[in-house]
Amino acid sequence: MKELSLNILDIAENSVKAGASLTEIRVTEKDGLLTLRIIDDGCGMTEEVLRRVTDPFYTTRTTRKVGMGLPLLKMEAEMTGGEMTVTSRYVGDFPEGHGTEVTATFYEDHIDFIPLGDVVSSITTLIQGHPDTDFLFDHESDAFHVTLDTRELRGILEDVPLNSYEVIMWIDSYLREQYEEDPLS
């Protein structure tokens, strides 16, 4: 994909489809290494599914015969010298504490590194499309620490839906302002 933020959108959509009530999207940038973690409390995957999850010819979709989300993310990570791992606890085996964690690392100084892009738009798109699901976004680097937890927002907003226009605009501004803040000021 042209931007890693589109991968984030794609993978997090899978989390929602897996019935996650909370999806954490954590990005850290330290010493030239970008680590992306998407952690959900959805239904998880069986060992059989987990084994095949990076095979593009394996997909849970019924609308097309290939699934490219994780295979592309893995390829993009490996193109920079990084890697991608997926761990999962299937609800059938773990009635409590089930879910999936996707971790991908990217070396930012590699020439084939795909930029993170507009991650704020990915987050607002997710919230807009899935107002009843919670998302925790955390992006930390030496220059900034951006964070948003929709569970906190939900408590403040009470009955106002998270995908109402004003709330989405506020979230967008809130996140962008955090990127612009000078941590030394």
Partner: protein, 109 residues
Amino acid sequence: MKISELRQDIFRPLCLPDPDRDIRGVYMGDLLSWVMGRAEEDNAWITIMSNRNVIAVASLISVSCVILTEDVTLDADVLALAEQKEINIFTTALSSYDACIALYRMLNE
């Protein structure tokens, strides 16, 4: 133009499970997600990418063939997958740009 009519001194077949496919148009691109959204069925797809995701994208779009440029080839397991999924694969010493020109000439002869 049929796949089998491509000049094989320029485009060397690595695997031709479906040689009767027609080539209708050409798409060149290496960013797989971009190609997924833009290449069209029966296109000849020109790329330097060579992993199994290429076969998945080719299968998804149903391109008539994949042409690997700059002498790029496929590992044996990826080639076996291409055969299994009936994806025609060629390789050429030409650059992607020159491969486009060569294909343009062949398609318009």
